[in-house]
């Protein structure tokens, strides 16, 4: 379930080797390239591998491109998937530098094993919206409307963060809802609405935004009870610690914030 996006930076290999040679010759790096990263990430080079929650696909792809432009000679490898699956991968030794999860629970799996370097920090938050067909033809305006008979609603399965959030919101609103299906991740739930197989789904507002005019988002007050924190952390066994640090800095910089804001994420 892990999709990998790899972009080839053109002269990276040569540049990378050159940079390492310079570092070695100058002897300024007693403990590897990790300690040599300056304030603007000087000396950042090579490949940085980022494991990120599926809901970060659009924003982190954009941030990855910006990172490569900022640090010539670097290559960002992004791996998107369910947060828990990614956490399991990291705990089983996947060679990742940075982990960004869609919930604190998945991050805790990694911190509990001592696999993060330093404390994870929340960089954005996300909340749910009701996704409906464009123009909201059935006039859905609240969680209660979803219980109308004959309405096909899909939720995320409770084993994934968006499903936990959906259940919290439904409980908060005192709404008893029997969905048509518990989907395996948020994008599958959204797809069912895009294909008009389902009339509505509870998904993140960022997913609604990313889907453009294929779905319409309806805000509902109970979503405030089920806000997801997105933590990010460098990893203890990162093959490229200096680049990991620079990438996390970019995500938390005003520039990174702007990209995330634009996608509909909330400030932490």
């Amino acid at each position: 379930m892990i999709r990998s996006v790899r972009r080839a930076g053109k002269p990276r290999r040569v540049a990378g080797v050159g940079a390492i040679a310079v570092l070695a010759l100058s002897g300024c790096s007693p403990s590897g390239p990790g300690s040599s990263s300056g304030p603007e990430g000087a000396g950042v080079t090579g490949t940085v591998t980022v494991f990120a929650a599926a809901s970060l696909k659009e924003t982190f792809t954009e941030l990855g491109e910006r990172f490569e432009t900022k640090h010539p000679g670097t290559e960002v490898t992004l791996s998107f998937g369910g947060s828990d699956a990614l956490a399991a991968g990291i705990n089983n030794g996947a060679p990742a530098d940075v982990f960004a999860a869609a919930g604190t629970k998945a991050m805790r799996l990694v911190t509990d094993e001592g696999n993060t370097a330093g404390r994870p920090s929340t960089f954005v938050r996300n909340r749910l919206q009701i996704a409906t067909a464009p123009g909201n033809p059935l006039g859905i305006g609240s969680l209660d409307d979803l219980t109308a008979s004959g309405l096909k609603v899909v939720l995320c399965d409770e084993t994934v963060p968006c499903g936990t959030a959906a259940q919290t919101a439904l409980t908060a609103g005192g709404v008893g809802l029997t969905p048509a299906s518990y989907e395996q991740d948020v994008k599958s739930a959204l797809t069912k609405v895009e294909l008009k197989e389902a009339d509505a789904a509870l998904v993140y507002r960022t997913d609604v935004r990313a889907a453009g005019d294929k779905v319409e988002g309806v805000e509902f007050p109970e979503s405030a009870e089920a806000v997801n924190d997105y933590p990010i952390a460098r990893l203890e066994n990162a093959p490229n610690p200096s680049a990991a640090k620079a990438f996390v800095e970019l995500v938390q910089s005003p520039e990174g914030r702007k990209v995330l804001d634009g996608a509909g994420f909330l400030k932490p």
């Binding site: 084993t159 048509a180 197989e197």
Partner: protein, 275 residues
Amino acid sequence: MTTGQEASRKTRPRTPGRGVPLALLAPALLGLAFLLVPLLALLLRAPWRSLPEQLTSPGVWEALRLSLLCATTATALSLVVGVPLAWLLARTDFPGRGLVRALVTLPLVLPPVVGGVALLLALGRNGVVGQWLDAWFGITLPFTTAGVVLAETFVAMPFLVISVEGTLRAADPRYEEAATTLGASRFTAFRRVTLQLIAPGIAAGAVLAWARALGEFGATITFAGNFPGRTQTMPLAVYLALQNDPAAAIALSLVLLAVSIAVLAGLRDRWMRTA
């Protein structure tokens, strides 16, 4: 399917005094180990202590019942349309037969998730055919048990068709020709002669299709969704349990493994020895 070898081993004695060449033995054993070690690992890492507790949850049996029901129905459906399709491919000549044959086998190579999306586009509420099913008969297939059966049939039927077609090609067509010469219609010849001849091939194909349907995941979750008791088959339950409770996932896998072995072993004794 080892039906052929099984039979030939019994009828033809092994040539004595000839050892198995190492160049064949070594890769053969490696292949065997490669297939068996993961299953062994499943047994070794199984949460034996908490197993009774895991297996008494009603959700497990609900998923198993649904899996068996859907796989069996899908196999029956595959037989009804798959055997005639195999006959058409093996015994008749029409332009573009090679292409049709390739198209029939397409679901074998297609990722099942793509199959599920294709089914949604065809038979979904808004699909090419599905919108008429909904408008005329009020039938919608996604998110229903019938949807699970269709998804499994889509993925499993090619196995049956290929298997039966192979058997048909190997069977001597002269028996059918003799029957038609003696006045039987082509359908009677098919029913009374051909079907008897290829019965073992049909059985083998059906078992293969059933096994494939039982393990089906991608097309099912994409087309039929996931709802306990209605569309959540064992593979879906295993996948979702794996997200946050690996022990439960292993327990579910063991059940599926045990059922598969029991059924395959049972059928092998009953049908395949006759091959």
